[in-house]
Symmetry: C2
Subunit: 536 residues, 2 copies
Amino acid sequence: MSSEYYEYQLTIDKILDSGSRSFPNREIVYRDIRRYTFSSFSDSVKRLMSGLKKLGVKKGDRVGVIDWDTDVYFHTYYAIPMLGSVLHTVNIRYPLELIVKTILHAEDKYLIVRDEFVPLIEKAANIMPVGMKVITYSDNKEKVKSPISSADFWELIESNEPIEVSEDLKENDMATIFYTSGTTGEPKGVWFSHRKIVLHTLSVSLVGARAPLNLTSNDVYLILVPMFHVHAWGYPYVALLSGVKYVLPGKYDYGLILKLMDKEKVTYSAMVPTILYLILSHPDAPKYAHVFKRWKVTIGGSALPEGLAKKAKELGITVIAGYGLSETCPVLTTGYYNSLVEGLDEEKKFMEQISTGAPIPLVQIKIVDPSTGEEKERGKIGEIVVRAPWLTQEYYKDPEKTKSLWKGGWLHTGDLAYMDEYGYLHIVDREKDAIKSGGEFIPSLLLENAISLHPKVSQVAVVGIKDEKWGERPVAFIVPKEPINEEELRQFLLNLANEGKIQKWWIPDKFIFINSMPLTSTNKIDKKVLREMAQK
Amino acid sequence: MSSEYYEYQLTIDKILDSGSRSFPNREIVYRDIRRYTFSSFSDSVKRLMSGLKKLGVKKGDRVGVIDWDTDVYFHTYYAIPMLGSVLHTVNIRYPLELIVKTILHAEDKYLIVRDEFVPLIEKAANIMPVGMKVITYSDNKEKVKSPISSADFWELIESNEPIEVSEDLKENDMATIFYTSGTTGEPKGVWFSHRKIVLHTLSVSLVGARAPLNLTSNDVYLILVPMFHVHAWGYPYVALLSGVKYVLPGKYDYGLILKLMDKEKVTYSAMVPTILYLILSHPDAPKYAHVFKRWKVTIGGSALPEGLAKKAKELGITVIAGYGLSETCPVLTTGYYNSLVEGLDEEKKFMEQISTGAPIPLVQIKIVDPSTGEEKERGKIGEIVVRAPWLTQEYYKDPEKTKSLWKGGWLHTGDLAYMDEYGYLHIVDREKDAIKSGGEFIPSLLLENAISLHPKVSQVAVVGIKDEKWGERPVAFIVPKEPINEEELRQFLLNLANEGKIQKWWIPDKFIFINSMPLTSTNKIDKKVLREMAQK
């Protein structure tokens, strides 16, 4: 008398299924090049699965993707994991040598490559995994002529009938793999199961509906996080589950992005602070005041400088911060209003929403002493350690680093922060960026924030340099908005110190003025480069 | 080099933890008797866990609860599963014999009993499980004097320090068990794991935020589904996760409920149609027009009659329907607006929101031929079969009924319905209530709906009686609003038939006028009793 009970698996196809059934005519838009409805997109994904399967893609096979933020990439977020294979979102901002290294480390058997990246891959053909098949495509659907191309992406879709996921697709199967940007040391691989992605999607969807974002299925997303970067923070999955229109910008061109935002009535975006800065300071920006007024933005990846947040607010943009790591899928906290903050005055609410934020549903956070692991009191600085249903189980093929990542059963973020009286995190430093001066930490993010408040400062980054007397001392790199001298800045900071906003001994010994910040492959300020510059 | 990776479990404590951290000062209110914040409630739950543990409650032990909708019941929804023991929500509307039967079947080792039910349990003491311990309480915290009482509920909380959940609590552990109301045949036991409840909570929270309910953390819930009934549709868990104030009405007293709704600024409720009917027709109702204007309601448990829905709408109430079974945790569908319906005119949207609804996130629904299991086209009537991550794995200790429940890997609801062009279900009948006349089904719910539109009809139910010529013929039971005769009703239905809204041959052969409907233990109309009355 055996039962045919169906053990429901939390797999990515369930997101696509829910989205395409509840919001069949919601759109996915790629520039002015192609439009899909959720329903036609679902059909297209299932044809791609069929095409990939015929090409030989099997359960567990890694499939790398090298592309901008396109409709092709959006397909692969679903089709590859739904086939039981593993989506490797290759970091296209890496130097070629590192790209190849990650492809070899992940053991990619297939690579999907946009035409403009084909020459790059041709160059490395002889050091790629043996037998790797390359699928190429171009925007206009013309076949890419290259000796390395084994198949055309569009043909895989167009010459096959849709198939459904196999019964042996399980929620703990590997769905995605990618490499952390590695501003220090070698890139490390992290991977995520279907289950983790589904649960992350549910929680990120839930928290988005909270104030001040108040996102609904009538919002329109244009996400400015490159799709090779940490599931583009989960939004390609959140979009289907939450039923929102999704606009894909291709390669970032801020003039075009502003136009797209206007034309497609975009209301929501997510990005690192640098991108927000680049958009707001774009020469066309003044023409789009009406677009900014309806715009809601989540900033993550790096701390949101108060100066930038205030500039956004003045334009009518609703801006909050979020926090997470490659290791954490990534979202851990966002600046939604919890029940303690919702009743505060506007100014105080604003300061909380642009802080590192409060844990989203199912996330557990502790602030601990980095050496002993003991929990710190509210308000005290320590390392952020976390538990959530969507954290990476390991650094791929690296048991040693995995061990320290998961020391004591909590994932160690390596970020130093305190939790304020309302339950919001305030990151004061990456552990590795911390400046220790005279035995005490100088929280570089707080200091940067203070400097960013000066009206002539456009961007700022502080790093530590070795100092015989103090161990380390801070050096500030400044991109000025208009000419400014060191003395002016020093006086400004002294005033802040007198007001009790910073410590006097935090004031940098040296200010270096530069034209633009060196950026990492994920558009964060590259402090490694700055440290080298500062030592000289 | 072993890692201490933490395998995150989807257990109920994670809901309590998220709620009490993000919404620490949100309130739980029990009448005008006691108030908690989420934070103090969490502390109280953890003290209760400690008290129960000291009393001897172990992992896997069943703990029955016999109570109205009180703060005590609310505690047990968390504390019992969080201790690894199993919450048995005993159906207090059953006759004593059936109550005992379910307690024996579930093998309850502990029973938590409100004072007014103690005499009932005393009466059955000698047929209860051997060694079962009874925990009693009264609202005013006076100890209950009874030979069967082993412990006082409040003392368990007040004389113990909070404890945390054990490391060996796993997401697939049994969390709850209860018995389906059994309008036909013996009650059947269904049980749910922590994981199922957590996933149900996430999805129900998500869909509540969709139009037309648009629920946010600033809504105030007063749920009018008895807490012994299917997780009171999930709201005691949804409340903590979504951060809403929750008002508990105790034993239902509609005058008091109206007062509570006013005083506590209630904005949202869920209930069976009978309860909405009782509230709207309460003599005090006209005094609460301002309360109804802000009120949003989900109706489930039975079909929402169009007449009642329209009356609610006239009062300014936003009303939608929902659908689910004891076997399904329960929510499967609700009348939220999907992307096809959101653009329709108000009248059409209203008809969809009061239909059986559209699948909520992660639910998969098919309409199949009940005999062959083959999927039916859109618009055709068949049985609803479902998959979701929160369906019961079995009828407890009943492999035979389990087998037919899960035939073919889909849960069989036994409900006949069609799916309309917009993707909304329309239940036309419980399979067991279906009336087959001349080889064709008469959809009793559609017929009841038609009769309910007559202005003099207050409530209606149609059942089939045996007929020599046709097999079965319909008989209508009517609770009139004001005097009405059979001829008037027959003419009304003939007009509807001429307009093509019903079939002429559906018109009942007999109309029976009664003062009130017989109800089941969960306040649904008891068609079994009506069928007996009709045969006489």
